[in-house]
Amino acid sequence: MNRTRRRKALSGFVVFLCAGSVVLALIPLFFIFGYVISKGFSSLNWDFFTKMPKPVGETGGGMANAMVGTAYLIAIAGGFAVPVGVIAGVYLSEYGKKSFGSLVRFTADVLNGVPSIVIGIFAYGLAVLPVKHFSALAGGLALGFMMVPIITRTTEELLNLVPGSLREGALALGATRARAAFSVMVPAALPGIMTGILVALARIAGETAPLLFTAFNNRYLTTSLLQPISSLPVQIYTYAISPYDDWHRQAWAGALVLVGFVFTFSVLARVVTRRLERMHRT
Protein backbone atom coordinates (compact mmCIF):
# COMPACT_ATOMS: atom_id res chain seq x y z
CA MET A 1 0.00 0.00 0.00
CA ASN A 2 2.75 2.35 1.04
CA ARG A 3 4.55 1.77 -2.20
CA THR A 4 1.50 2.59 -4.27
CA ARG A 5 0.92 5.78 -2.34
CA ARG A 6 4.54 6.75 -2.87
CA ARG A 7 4.26 6.09 -6.58
CA LYS A 8 1.10 8.13 -6.77
CA ALA A 9 2.66 10.96 -4.83
CA LEU A 10 5.67 10.95 -7.11
CA SER A 11 3.41 11.00 -10.12
CA GLY A 12 1.48 13.93 -8.73
CA PHE A 13 4.71 15.74 -7.98
CA VAL A 14 5.95 15.26 -11.51
CA VAL A 15 2.67 16.52 -12.91
CA PHE A 16 3.08 19.57 -10.72
CA LEU A 17 6.64 20.11 -11.96
CA CYS A 18 5.53 19.88 -15.57
CA ALA A 19 2.75 22.36 -15.05
CA GLY A 20 5.24 24.53 -13.22
CA SER A 21 7.61 24.52 -16.15
CA VAL A 22 4.86 25.79 -18.40
CA VAL A 23 4.27 28.65 -15.98
CA LEU A 24 8.00 29.28 -15.70
CA ALA A 25 8.36 29.50 -19.46
CA LEU A 26 5.44 31.87 -19.74
CA ILE A 27 6.88 34.30 -17.21
CA PRO A 28 9.56 35.72 -19.52
CA LEU A 29 7.02 35.79 -22.33
CA PHE A 30 4.68 38.05 -20.42
CA PHE A 31 7.60 39.97 -19.00
CA ILE A 32 8.94 40.72 -22.47
CA PHE A 33 5.59 41.45 -24.06
CA GLY A 34 4.64 43.62 -21.12
CA TYR A 35 7.83 45.61 -21.38
CA VAL A 36 7.67 46.04 -25.12
CA ILE A 37 4.06 47.15 -24.97
CA SER A 38 4.41 49.47 -22.01
CA LYS A 39 7.64 51.10 -23.13
CA GLY A 40 6.91 51.11 -26.80
CA PHE A 41 3.33 52.23 -26.81
CA SER A 42 3.96 55.66 -25.38
CA SER A 43 6.51 56.40 -28.09
CA LEU A 44 4.24 55.40 -30.94
CA ASN A 45 2.94 58.48 -32.62
CA TRP A 46 2.22 59.68 -36.08
CA ASP A 47 5.77 61.03 -36.42
CA PHE A 48 7.19 57.63 -35.68
CA PHE A 49 5.44 56.09 -38.62
CA THR A 50 6.05 58.88 -41.09
CA LYS A 51 9.30 60.67 -40.33
CA MET A 52 12.95 59.84 -40.92
CA PRO A 53 15.52 59.74 -38.13
CA LYS A 54 16.71 63.10 -36.91
CA PRO A 55 20.33 64.02 -36.32
CA VAL A 56 21.85 63.26 -32.95
CA GLY A 57 20.73 65.71 -30.34
CA GLU A 58 17.41 66.61 -31.94
CA THR A 59 14.39 64.84 -30.55
CA GLY A 60 11.59 63.52 -32.63
CA GLY A 61 11.98 61.80 -35.91
CA GLY A 62 10.78 58.35 -36.68
CA MET A 63 11.39 55.03 -38.28
CA ALA A 64 9.41 55.35 -41.46
CA ASN A 65 12.43 54.41 -43.55
CA ALA A 66 13.06 51.33 -41.45
CA MET A 67 9.52 50.05 -41.79
CA VAL A 68 9.41 50.57 -45.53
CA GLY A 69 12.84 48.97 -45.69
CA THR A 70 11.71 45.85 -43.90
CA ALA A 71 8.68 45.54 -46.14
CA TYR A 72 10.89 45.95 -49.19
CA LEU A 73 13.44 43.39 -48.02
CA ILE A 74 10.72 40.86 -47.28
CA ALA A 75 9.30 41.41 -50.76
CA ILE A 76 12.68 40.79 -52.38
CA ALA A 77 13.33 37.75 -50.22
CA GLY A 78 9.92 36.26 -50.90
CA GLY A 79 10.21 37.13 -54.55
CA PHE A 80 12.79 34.51 -55.18
CA ALA A 81 12.41 32.23 -52.17
CA VAL A 82 8.75 31.44 -52.82
CA PRO A 83 9.17 30.16 -56.38
CA VAL A 84 12.35 28.27 -55.52
CA GLY A 85 10.89 26.78 -52.35
CA VAL A 86 7.53 25.83 -53.84
CA ILE A 87 8.97 24.25 -56.96
CA ALA A 88 11.59 22.39 -54.95
CA GLY A 89 8.79 21.20 -52.69
CA VAL A 90 6.85 20.01 -55.74
CA TYR A 91 9.86 18.02 -56.86
CA LEU A 92 10.24 16.44 -53.47
CA SER A 93 6.62 15.36 -53.31
CA GLU A 94 6.58 13.99 -56.87
CA TYR A 95 9.98 12.39 -57.11
CA GLY A 96 11.41 12.69 -53.65
CA LYS A 97 11.35 9.09 -52.54
CA LYS A 98 14.79 8.33 -53.92
CA SER A 99 18.16 9.17 -52.42
CA PHE A 100 18.43 12.52 -54.18
CA GLY A 101 15.22 13.51 -52.48
CA SER A 102 16.67 12.56 -49.13
CA LEU A 103 19.74 14.62 -49.89
CA VAL A 104 17.61 17.64 -50.72
CA ARG A 105 15.58 17.19 -47.59
CA PHE A 106 18.68 16.88 -45.49
CA THR A 107 20.35 19.96 -46.93
CA ALA A 108 17.13 21.92 -46.49
CA ASP A 109 17.12 21.03 -42.81
CA VAL A 110 20.79 21.92 -42.54
CA LEU A 111 20.16 25.25 -44.24
CA ASN A 112 17.41 25.86 -41.73
CA GLY A 113 19.88 25.45 -38.92
CA VAL A 114 22.71 27.57 -40.30
CA PRO A 115 23.22 30.65 -38.11
CA SER A 116 21.91 33.70 -39.87
CA ILE A 117 25.20 35.53 -39.41
CA VAL A 118 26.93 32.87 -41.50
CA ILE A 119 24.32 33.39 -44.22
CA GLY A 120 25.14 37.08 -43.96
CA ILE A 121 28.82 36.37 -44.58
CA PHE A 122 27.86 34.28 -47.60
CA ALA A 123 25.61 36.98 -49.03
CA TYR A 124 28.36 39.54 -48.43
CA GLY A 125 30.82 37.51 -50.48
CA LEU A 126 28.22 36.81 -53.14
CA ALA A 127 26.41 40.09 -53.57
CA VAL A 128 28.32 42.90 -51.89
CA LEU A 129 32.02 42.41 -52.59
CA PRO A 130 31.78 41.77 -56.35
CA VAL A 131 29.75 44.91 -56.97
CA LYS A 132 31.39 46.91 -54.22
CA HIS A 133 28.39 48.28 -52.50
CA PHE A 134 25.89 47.34 -49.88
CA SER A 135 22.42 46.90 -51.28
CA ALA A 136 18.88 46.03 -50.53
CA LEU A 137 19.30 43.22 -53.03
CA ALA A 138 22.08 41.61 -51.01
CA GLY A 139 20.02 41.90 -47.85
CA GLY A 140 16.97 40.45 -49.57
CA LEU A 141 19.08 37.59 -50.90
CA ALA A 142 20.37 36.74 -47.43
CA LEU A 143 16.86 36.73 -46.02
CA GLY A 144 15.56 34.74 -48.97
CA PHE A 145 18.15 32.03 -48.44
CA MET A 146 16.74 31.60 -44.97
CA MET A 147 13.19 31.30 -46.23
CA VAL A 148 13.87 28.61 -48.83
CA PRO A 149 14.13 25.58 -46.51
CA ILE A 150 10.98 26.44 -44.57
CA ILE A 151 8.92 26.89 -47.71
CA THR A 152 10.38 23.79 -49.36
CA ARG A 153 9.62 21.49 -46.45
CA THR A 154 6.16 22.91 -45.86
CA THR A 155 5.23 22.64 -49.53
CA GLU A 156 6.42 19.06 -49.71
CA GLU A 157 4.62 18.00 -46.57
CA LEU A 158 1.42 19.63 -47.64
CA LEU A 159 1.47 18.24 -51.12
CA ASN A 160 1.91 14.81 -49.61
CA LEU A 161 -1.24 15.37 -47.63
CA VAL A 162 -3.34 16.03 -50.70
CA PRO A 163 -5.00 12.71 -51.58
CA GLY A 164 -3.10 10.96 -54.35
CA SER A 165 -6.43 10.34 -56.05
CA LEU A 166 -6.51 13.96 -57.17
CA ARG A 167 -3.24 13.55 -59.01
CA GLU A 168 -4.24 10.22 -60.44
CA GLY A 169 -7.54 11.66 -61.59
CA ALA A 170 -5.80 14.46 -63.39
CA LEU A 171 -3.34 12.07 -65.01
CA ALA A 172 -6.15 9.76 -66.04
CA LEU A 173 -7.80 12.67 -67.81
CA GLY A 174 -4.64 13.09 -69.89
CA ALA A 175 -2.81 15.83 -68.02
CA THR A 176 0.95 15.89 -67.98
CA ARG A 177 2.58 15.53 -64.60
CA ALA A 178 3.42 19.20 -64.69
CA ARG A 179 -0.20 20.12 -65.26
CA ALA A 180 -1.32 17.73 -62.58
CA ALA A 181 1.10 19.20 -60.11
CA PHE A 182 0.66 22.88 -60.75
CA SER A 183 -2.97 23.07 -61.72
CA VAL A 184 -4.40 20.51 -59.37
CA MET A 185 -2.14 19.55 -56.48
CA VAL A 186 -0.64 22.91 -55.63
CA PRO A 187 -3.97 24.75 -55.62
CA ALA A 188 -5.35 22.04 -53.38
CA ALA A 189 -2.52 22.50 -50.92
CA LEU A 190 -2.40 26.26 -51.30
CA PRO A 191 -3.74 27.27 -47.88
CA GLY A 192 -1.04 25.24 -46.17
CA ILE A 193 1.64 26.49 -48.52
CA MET A 194 0.59 30.05 -47.79
CA THR A 195 0.92 29.25 -44.13
CA GLY A 196 4.47 28.06 -44.67
CA ILE A 197 5.23 31.29 -46.49
CA LEU A 198 3.71 33.33 -43.69
CA VAL A 199 5.77 31.48 -41.12
CA ALA A 200 8.92 32.05 -43.15
CA LEU A 201 8.12 35.75 -43.58
CA ALA A 202 7.48 36.18 -39.88
CA ARG A 203 10.79 34.56 -39.12
CA ILE A 204 12.93 36.69 -41.39
CA ALA A 205 11.18 39.95 -40.61
CA GLY A 206 12.93 39.97 -37.27
CA GLU A 207 16.38 39.03 -38.45
CA THR A 208 19.18 41.48 -37.82
CA ALA A 209 22.53 39.73 -38.20
CA PRO A 210 22.39 38.91 -41.91
CA LEU A 211 21.52 42.50 -42.72
CA LEU A 212 24.41 44.06 -40.83
CA PHE A 213 26.78 43.73 -43.71
CA THR A 214 24.52 43.26 -46.66
CA ALA A 215 21.76 45.83 -46.55
CA PHE A 216 23.85 47.90 -44.13
CA ASN A 217 21.64 50.79 -43.05
CA ASN A 218 20.28 54.02 -44.43
CA ARG A 219 19.17 57.25 -42.81
CA TYR A 220 16.89 57.93 -45.72
CA LEU A 221 13.97 56.27 -47.34
CA THR A 222 15.12 54.42 -50.40
CA THR A 223 13.47 51.93 -52.64
CA SER A 224 16.41 51.31 -54.86
CA LEU A 225 17.57 47.74 -55.13
CA LEU A 226 21.17 48.78 -55.33
CA GLN A 227 21.48 51.10 -52.37
CA PRO A 228 21.82 50.28 -48.70
CA ILE A 229 18.47 50.16 -47.03
CA SER A 230 17.25 50.62 -43.52
CA SER A 231 15.34 47.92 -41.73
CA LEU A 232 13.43 47.73 -38.51
CA PRO A 233 15.67 45.22 -36.68
CA VAL A 234 18.91 46.97 -37.63
CA GLN A 235 17.51 50.35 -36.68
CA ILE A 236 16.35 49.00 -33.33
CA TYR A 237 19.80 47.59 -32.74
CA THR A 238 21.55 50.85 -33.63
CA TYR A 239 19.28 52.82 -31.32
CA ALA A 240 19.43 50.30 -28.49
CA ILE A 241 23.19 50.43 -28.09
CA SER A 242 23.26 54.22 -28.22
CA PRO A 243 23.37 56.36 -25.09
CA TYR A 244 20.50 58.65 -26.12
CA ASP A 245 17.29 58.24 -24.16
CA ASP A 246 15.20 59.47 -27.06
CA TRP A 247 16.64 56.78 -29.27
CA HIS A 248 16.01 54.16 -26.60
CA ARG A 249 12.35 55.10 -26.56
CA GLN A 250 12.17 54.80 -30.31
CA ALA A 251 13.90 51.44 -30.12
CA TRP A 252 11.11 50.15 -27.87
CA ALA A 253 8.50 51.57 -30.20
CA GLY A 254 10.19 49.86 -33.11
CA ALA A 255 10.31 46.64 -31.14
CA LEU A 256 6.59 46.93 -30.52
CA VAL A 257 5.87 47.36 -34.21
CA LEU A 258 8.11 44.43 -35.08
CA VAL A 259 6.62 42.16 -32.45
CA GLY A 260 3.13 43.16 -33.52
CA PHE A 261 3.92 42.30 -37.09
CA VAL A 262 5.47 38.92 -36.28
CA PHE A 263 2.69 38.15 -33.83
CA THR A 264 0.00 38.87 -36.42
CA PHE A 265 1.61 36.57 -38.93
CA SER A 266 2.04 33.81 -36.36
CA VAL A 267 -1.60 34.05 -35.36
CA LEU A 268 -2.68 33.99 -38.99
CA ALA A 269 -0.53 30.94 -39.64
CA ARG A 270 -1.89 29.16 -36.64
CA VAL A 271 -5.49 29.89 -37.55
CA VAL A 272 -4.98 28.46 -41.00
CA THR A 273 -3.26 25.40 -39.55
CA ARG A 274 -6.07 24.72 -37.17
CA ARG A 275 -8.58 25.00 -39.97
CA LEU A 276 -6.54 22.53 -41.99
CA GLU A 277 -6.30 20.16 -39.05
CA ARG A 278 -10.02 20.24 -38.71
CA MET A 279 -10.49 19.63 -42.41
CA HIS A 280 -8.27 16.60 -42.41
CA ARG A 281 -9.64 15.13 -39.27
CA THR A 282 -13.11 14.74 -40.78
Binding site: A71, H133, F134, T222, T223, Q227, I241, S242
Partner: protein, 340 residues
Protein backbone atom coordinates in the same frame (compact mmCIF):
# COMPACT_ATOMS: atom_id res chain seq x y z
CA UNK B 1 -7.32 33.60 -51.32
CA UNK B 2 -8.00 35.35 -54.63
CA UNK B 3 -8.20 38.64 -52.81
CA UNK B 4 -4.89 37.97 -51.12
CA UNK B 5 -3.28 37.19 -54.44
CA UNK B 6 -4.54 40.41 -55.98
CA UNK B 7 -3.36 42.39 -53.00
CA UNK B 8 0.09 40.84 -53.11
CA UNK B 9 0.45 41.50 -56.84
CA UNK B 10 -0.51 45.13 -56.42
CA UNK B 11 1.81 45.61 -53.46
CA UNK B 12 4.69 43.96 -55.25
CA UNK B 13 4.29 46.01 -58.41
CA UNK B 14 4.10 49.21 -56.39
CA UNK B 15 7.34 48.37 -54.66
CA UNK B 16 9.02 47.65 -57.98
CA UNK B 17 7.74 50.92 -59.44
CA UNK B 18 8.93 53.05 -56.55
CA UNK B 19 12.62 53.27 -57.47
CA UNK B 20 11.65 55.31 -60.48
CA UNK B 21 10.25 58.05 -58.26
CA UNK B 22 13.23 59.41 -56.30
CA UNK B 23 15.49 61.94 -57.99
CA UNK B 24 18.07 62.48 -55.30
CA UNK B 25 21.69 61.49 -55.34
CA UNK B 26 22.60 59.29 -52.47
CA UNK B 27 26.16 59.12 -51.23
CA UNK B 28 27.18 56.45 -48.77
CA UNK B 29 29.85 56.98 -46.19
CA UNK B 30 30.90 55.15 -43.09
CA UNK B 31 33.32 55.47 -40.24
CA UNK B 32 34.00 57.10 -36.94
CA UNK B 33 31.43 57.43 -34.20
CA UNK B 34 33.49 60.22 -32.61
CA UNK B 35 32.28 62.91 -35.06
CA UNK B 36 28.92 61.31 -35.71
CA UNK B 37 26.94 64.01 -33.88
CA UNK B 38 28.45 66.84 -35.90
CA UNK B 39 28.43 64.92 -39.19
CA UNK B 40 24.77 64.04 -38.83
CA UNK B 41 24.08 67.69 -38.12
CA UNK B 42 26.14 68.76 -41.13
CA UNK B 43 24.48 66.35 -43.54
CA UNK B 44 21.11 67.45 -42.30
CA UNK B 45 21.91 71.17 -42.68
CA UNK B 46 23.61 70.70 -46.03
CA UNK B 47 20.58 68.71 -47.12
CA UNK B 48 18.43 71.73 -46.37
CA UNK B 49 20.50 73.84 -48.76
CA UNK B 50 20.84 71.07 -51.34
CA UNK B 51 17.75 68.89 -51.03
CA UNK B 52 18.77 66.66 -53.90
CA UNK B 53 21.78 65.39 -51.95
CA UNK B 54 21.34 62.62 -49.40
CA UNK B 55 24.45 61.62 -47.53
CA UNK B 56 23.93 58.35 -45.75
CA UNK B 57 26.61 58.16 -43.10
CA UNK B 58 26.76 55.13 -40.86
CA UNK B 59 28.85 55.31 -37.74
CA UNK B 60 30.35 51.86 -37.59
CA UNK B 61 33.69 52.87 -36.14
CA UNK B 62 36.88 54.21 -37.71
CA UNK B 63 38.15 50.73 -38.49
CA UNK B 64 34.97 50.06 -40.38
CA UNK B 65 35.26 53.31 -42.28
CA UNK B 66 38.78 52.49 -43.42
CA UNK B 67 37.77 48.95 -44.30
CA UNK B 68 34.69 49.83 -46.31
CA UNK B 69 36.47 52.66 -48.10
CA UNK B 70 39.27 50.29 -49.07
CA UNK B 71 36.74 47.74 -50.26
CA UNK B 72 34.99 50.58 -52.07
CA UNK B 73 31.61 49.67 -50.69
CA UNK B 74 31.21 53.27 -49.52
CA UNK B 75 32.15 56.48 -51.27
CA UNK B 76 33.96 58.14 -48.39
CA UNK B 77 35.28 57.11 -45.02
CA UNK B 78 35.81 58.84 -41.73
CA UNK B 79 38.35 58.06 -39.08
CA UNK B 80 39.85 59.57 -35.95
CA UNK B 81 42.99 57.60 -36.41
CA UNK B 82 44.81 58.39 -39.64
CA UNK B 83 45.40 55.46 -41.93
CA UNK B 84 48.87 54.04 -41.48
CA UNK B 85 51.22 53.41 -44.38
CA UNK B 86 50.31 49.75 -44.61
CA UNK B 87 46.61 50.51 -44.83
CA UNK B 88 47.22 53.18 -47.45
CA UNK B 89 49.26 50.75 -49.50
CA UNK B 90 46.46 48.22 -49.33
CA UNK B 91 43.94 50.56 -50.89
CA UNK B 92 43.21 50.34 -54.60
CA UNK B 93 44.10 54.01 -55.09
CA UNK B 94 45.66 56.90 -53.21
CA UNK B 95 43.52 58.19 -50.35
CA UNK B 96 43.56 61.74 -49.01
CA UNK B 97 42.92 62.80 -45.45
CA UNK B 98 40.96 65.96 -44.62
CA UNK B 99 40.63 67.07 -41.00
CA UNK B 100 37.09 68.22 -40.30
CA UNK B 101 36.89 69.08 -36.62
CA UNK B 102 38.85 68.78 -33.45
CA UNK B 103 37.64 66.73 -30.58
CA UNK B 104 38.66 65.48 -27.22
CA UNK B 105 38.54 62.04 -25.66
CA UNK B 106 37.65 62.20 -22.00
CA UNK B 107 37.87 59.63 -19.22
CA UNK B 108 34.31 59.06 -18.05
CA UNK B 109 33.42 57.33 -14.84
CA UNK B 110 30.49 56.34 -12.73
CA UNK B 111 31.32 56.05 -9.04
CA UNK B 112 28.31 55.92 -6.77
CA UNK B 113 28.60 58.60 -4.14
CA UNK B 114 31.32 60.59 -5.87
CA UNK B 115 30.19 63.79 -7.56
CA UNK B 116 33.52 65.59 -7.70
CA UNK B 117 35.56 65.98 -10.85
CA UNK B 118 38.46 63.58 -10.55
CA UNK B 119 42.03 64.27 -11.62
CA UNK B 120 43.92 61.72 -13.69
CA UNK B 121 47.34 61.55 -15.16
CA UNK B 122 48.58 59.47 -18.05
CA UNK B 123 50.41 56.86 -16.03
CA UNK B 124 47.46 56.22 -13.74
CA UNK B 125 45.06 55.93 -16.65
CA UNK B 126 47.40 53.51 -18.38
CA UNK B 127 47.64 51.39 -15.24
CA UNK B 128 43.89 51.31 -14.82
CA UNK B 129 43.41 50.17 -18.41
CA UNK B 130 46.19 47.63 -18.04
CA UNK B 131 44.35 46.22 -15.06
CA UNK B 132 47.10 47.06 -12.61
CA UNK B 133 44.93 49.45 -10.61
CA UNK B 134 41.73 47.62 -9.72
CA UNK B 135 40.00 49.63 -7.03
CA UNK B 136 38.89 53.21 -6.95
CA UNK B 137 40.59 53.85 -3.62
CA UNK B 138 43.98 52.77 -4.95
CA UNK B 139 46.84 54.85 -3.54
CA UNK B 140 47.69 56.41 -6.89
CA UNK B 141 44.15 57.68 -7.44
CA UNK B 142 43.87 58.93 -3.89
CA UNK B 143 47.16 60.81 -4.22
CA UNK B 144 45.86 62.62 -7.29
CA UNK B 145 42.58 63.51 -5.64
CA UNK B 146 43.08 64.61 -2.05
CA UNK B 147 39.85 65.62 -0.46
CA UNK B 148 37.70 63.23 -2.46
CA UNK B 149 36.39 60.19 -0.62
CA UNK B 150 37.01 57.37 -3.09
CA UNK B 151 35.23 54.13 -2.20
CA UNK B 152 36.70 50.65 -2.31
CA UNK B 153 34.59 49.77 -5.34
CA UNK B 154 36.03 47.58 -8.08
CA UNK B 155 36.95 49.43 -11.24
CA UNK B 156 35.08 48.12 -14.26
CA UNK B 157 36.84 49.16 -17.45
CA UNK B 158 34.64 49.83 -20.48
CA UNK B 159 36.30 49.97 -23.86
CA UNK B 160 35.33 49.71 -27.50
CA UNK B 161 34.50 46.35 -28.95
CA UNK B 162 34.63 47.69 -32.49
CA UNK B 163 37.51 49.21 -34.42
CA UNK B 164 37.57 52.80 -33.29
CA UNK B 165 39.44 56.03 -33.88
CA UNK B 166 38.43 57.11 -30.42
CA UNK B 167 40.36 54.08 -29.21
CA UNK B 168 43.20 55.10 -31.47
CA UNK B 169 43.41 58.57 -29.96
CA UNK B 170 43.18 57.20 -26.43
CA UNK B 171 45.81 54.48 -26.82
CA UNK B 172 48.00 56.84 -28.82
CA UNK B 173 48.07 59.12 -25.79
CA UNK B 174 48.54 56.27 -23.30
CA UNK B 175 51.40 54.83 -25.36
CA UNK B 176 53.12 58.19 -25.30
CA UNK B 177 52.96 58.45 -21.51
CA UNK B 178 53.44 54.81 -20.55
CA UNK B 179 56.11 52.67 -22.25
CA UNK B 180 54.60 49.60 -20.62
CA UNK B 181 51.27 50.35 -22.27
CA UNK B 182 52.92 50.89 -25.60
CA UNK B 183 54.58 47.51 -25.35
CA UNK B 184 51.67 45.51 -23.95
CA UNK B 185 48.84 47.02 -25.95
CA UNK B 186 50.11 49.27 -28.69
CA UNK B 187 48.37 51.72 -30.97
CA UNK B 188 45.64 50.78 -33.41
CA UNK B 189 41.93 51.19 -33.95
CA UNK B 190 41.36 47.78 -32.42
CA UNK B 191 43.63 46.49 -29.67
CA UNK B 192 43.92 43.53 -27.40
CA UNK B 193 42.45 44.97 -24.19
CA UNK B 194 43.88 43.43 -21.03
CA UNK B 195 40.66 43.85 -19.04
CA UNK B 196 37.18 45.19 -19.31
CA UNK B 197 33.90 45.04 -21.17
CA UNK B 198 33.42 45.99 -24.79
CA UNK B 199 30.75 48.36 -26.02
CA UNK B 200 29.92 49.11 -29.62
CA UNK B 201 30.64 52.66 -30.62
CA UNK B 202 31.04 55.72 -28.45
CA UNK B 203 27.40 55.14 -27.79
CA UNK B 204 28.02 51.66 -26.45
CA UNK B 205 30.80 52.72 -24.11
CA UNK B 206 28.80 55.68 -22.84
CA UNK B 207 25.88 53.38 -22.24
CA UNK B 208 28.00 50.86 -20.37
CA UNK B 209 29.57 53.47 -18.13
CA UNK B 210 26.26 55.11 -17.43
CA UNK B 211 24.73 51.85 -16.32
CA UNK B 212 27.61 50.21 -14.47
CA UNK B 213 28.55 51.45 -11.02
CA UNK B 214 32.32 51.67 -10.66
CA UNK B 215 32.89 51.90 -14.38
CA UNK B 216 35.50 53.89 -16.20
CA UNK B 217 35.66 54.38 -19.93
CA UNK B 218 36.71 56.75 -22.64
CA UNK B 219 34.42 58.61 -24.99
CA UNK B 220 34.39 61.66 -27.18
CA UNK B 221 33.61 64.80 -25.19
CA UNK B 222 30.20 65.36 -26.75
CA UNK B 223 28.98 61.93 -25.69
CA UNK B 224 29.93 62.69 -22.08
CA UNK B 225 28.22 66.08 -22.23
CA UNK B 226 25.06 64.92 -23.96
CA UNK B 227 24.64 62.03 -21.60
CA UNK B 228 25.64 63.94 -18.52
CA UNK B 229 28.29 61.44 -17.54
CA UNK B 230 30.99 62.64 -15.16
CA UNK B 231 34.43 63.00 -16.70
CA UNK B 232 37.76 63.91 -15.21
CA UNK B 233 40.58 66.28 -15.97
CA UNK B 234 43.88 64.99 -17.28
CA UNK B 235 47.38 66.21 -16.56
CA UNK B 236 49.08 67.51 -19.68
CA UNK B 237 52.73 67.44 -20.75
CA UNK B 238 53.34 70.69 -18.91
CA UNK B 239 51.97 69.30 -15.65
CA UNK B 240 48.67 71.17 -15.58
CA UNK B 241 45.38 69.40 -14.95
CA UNK B 242 43.19 70.37 -17.85
CA UNK B 243 39.51 69.69 -18.39
CA UNK B 244 38.52 69.09 -21.99
CA UNK B 245 36.89 72.11 -23.53
CA UNK B 246 36.82 73.98 -26.81
CA UNK B 247 39.68 76.23 -25.73
CA UNK B 248 41.93 73.53 -24.34
CA UNK B 249 41.48 71.42 -27.46
CA UNK B 250 42.17 74.37 -29.75
CA UNK B 251 45.29 75.09 -27.69
CA UNK B 252 46.52 71.57 -28.38
CA UNK B 253 46.00 72.07 -32.10
CA UNK B 254 47.80 75.40 -32.28
CA UNK B 255 51.31 74.04 -32.12
CA UNK B 256 50.44 71.31 -34.62
CA UNK B 257 48.93 73.63 -37.18
CA UNK B 258 52.22 75.46 -37.49
CA UNK B 259 53.93 72.30 -38.68
CA UNK B 260 51.10 70.50 -40.42
CA UNK B 261 52.36 67.77 -42.73
CA UNK B 262 51.12 67.85 -46.31
CA UNK B 263 48.89 64.83 -45.90
CA UNK B 264 47.38 66.15 -42.65
CA UNK B 265 48.19 62.95 -40.78
CA UNK B 266 49.35 64.26 -37.45
CA UNK B 267 48.86 63.27 -33.85
CA UNK B 268 48.30 66.01 -31.31
CA UNK B 269 47.97 63.92 -28.19
CA UNK B 270 50.12 65.00 -25.24
CA UNK B 271 50.77 68.29 -27.04
CA UNK B 272 52.96 70.90 -25.40
CA UNK B 273 51.38 74.03 -24.04
CA UNK B 274 50.16 75.13 -20.61
CA UNK B 275 46.50 75.08 -21.51
CA UNK B 276 46.55 72.22 -23.99
CA UNK B 277 44.27 69.26 -23.36
CA UNK B 278 46.39 66.14 -23.73
CA UNK B 279 43.88 63.77 -25.32
CA UNK B 280 42.88 65.88 -28.28
CA UNK B 281 42.73 64.91 -31.90
CA UNK B 282 41.76 65.85 -35.37
CA UNK B 283 39.23 63.68 -37.09
CA UNK B 284 39.48 63.10 -40.79
CA UNK B 285 37.27 62.44 -43.77
CA UNK B 286 38.88 60.09 -46.25
CA UNK B 287 38.46 60.47 -50.00
CA UNK B 288 40.03 58.79 -52.97
CA UNK B 289 42.32 61.11 -54.88
CA UNK B 290 41.11 59.71 -58.17
CA UNK B 291 37.49 58.73 -57.76
CA UNK B 292 35.69 56.99 -60.60
CA UNK B 293 32.34 58.54 -59.70
CA UNK B 294 33.00 62.13 -60.64
CA UNK B 295 29.48 63.34 -59.93
CA UNK B 296 29.56 62.20 -56.33
CA UNK B 297 33.11 63.43 -55.94
CA UNK B 298 32.04 66.91 -57.01
CA UNK B 299 29.24 66.91 -54.47
CA UNK B 300 31.49 65.74 -51.64
CA UNK B 301 34.17 68.33 -52.47
CA UNK B 302 31.50 71.00 -52.40
CA UNK B 303 30.19 69.61 -49.14
CA UNK B 304 33.66 69.56 -47.59
CA UNK B 305 34.25 73.16 -48.55
CA UNK B 306 30.95 74.05 -46.87
CA UNK B 307 31.80 72.00 -43.80
CA UNK B 308 35.20 73.64 -43.43
CA UNK B 309 33.70 77.12 -43.57
CA UNK B 310 30.00 77.48 -42.78
CA UNK B 311 29.80 74.12 -41.12
CA UNK B 312 32.30 75.09 -38.45
CA UNK B 313 29.73 77.30 -36.76
CA UNK B 314 27.82 74.25 -35.57
CA UNK B 315 30.86 72.88 -33.77
CA UNK B 316 30.61 74.78 -30.54
CA UNK B 317 27.10 73.76 -29.59
CA UNK B 318 28.03 70.11 -30.08
CA UNK B 319 31.26 70.30 -28.12
CA UNK B 320 33.76 70.17 -30.98
CA UNK B 321 36.51 72.73 -31.47
CA UNK B 322 36.56 74.40 -34.89
CA UNK B 323 39.66 74.00 -37.03
CA UNK B 324 42.34 76.68 -36.89
CA UNK B 325 42.11 78.99 -39.91
CA UNK B 326 45.57 78.06 -41.16
CA UNK B 327 44.55 74.43 -41.39
CA UNK B 328 41.36 75.30 -43.28
CA UNK B 329 43.34 77.28 -45.81
CA UNK B 330 45.72 74.39 -46.34
CA UNK B 331 42.79 72.03 -46.83
CA UNK B 332 41.04 74.20 -49.39
CA UNK B 333 44.23 73.95 -51.39
CA UNK B 334 44.50 70.22 -50.88
CA UNK B 335 40.90 69.67 -52.03
CA UNK B 336 42.03 70.67 -55.49
CA UNK B 337 44.09 67.49 -55.60
CA UNK B 338 40.94 65.42 -56.01
CA UNK B 339 40.64 64.75 -59.70
CA UNK B 340 37.12 65.68 -60.78
Amino acid sequence: MKLARIFLTVAFSTLIALPAISQTTQINGAGATFPYPIYSKWFSEYGKIHPEVEVNYQSIGSGGGIRQLTAQTVFFGASDGPMNDEQLKGAPGPILHFPTVLGAVVPVYNIPGVDAKLKFNGKVLADVILGKITKWNDAALVALNPGVKLPATDIAVAHRSDGSGTTYIFVDYLSKVSPEFKEKVGVNTSVNWPVGVGGKGNEGVAGLVKQTPGAIGYVELIYALQNKIAFGSVQNADGEFITASLDSVTAAATSASKSMPADFRVSITNAPGKSAYPISSFTWMLFYENPTDKQRAKIMVDFTKWALTDGQKYCAELGYAPLPKEVVALEMEALKKIKL
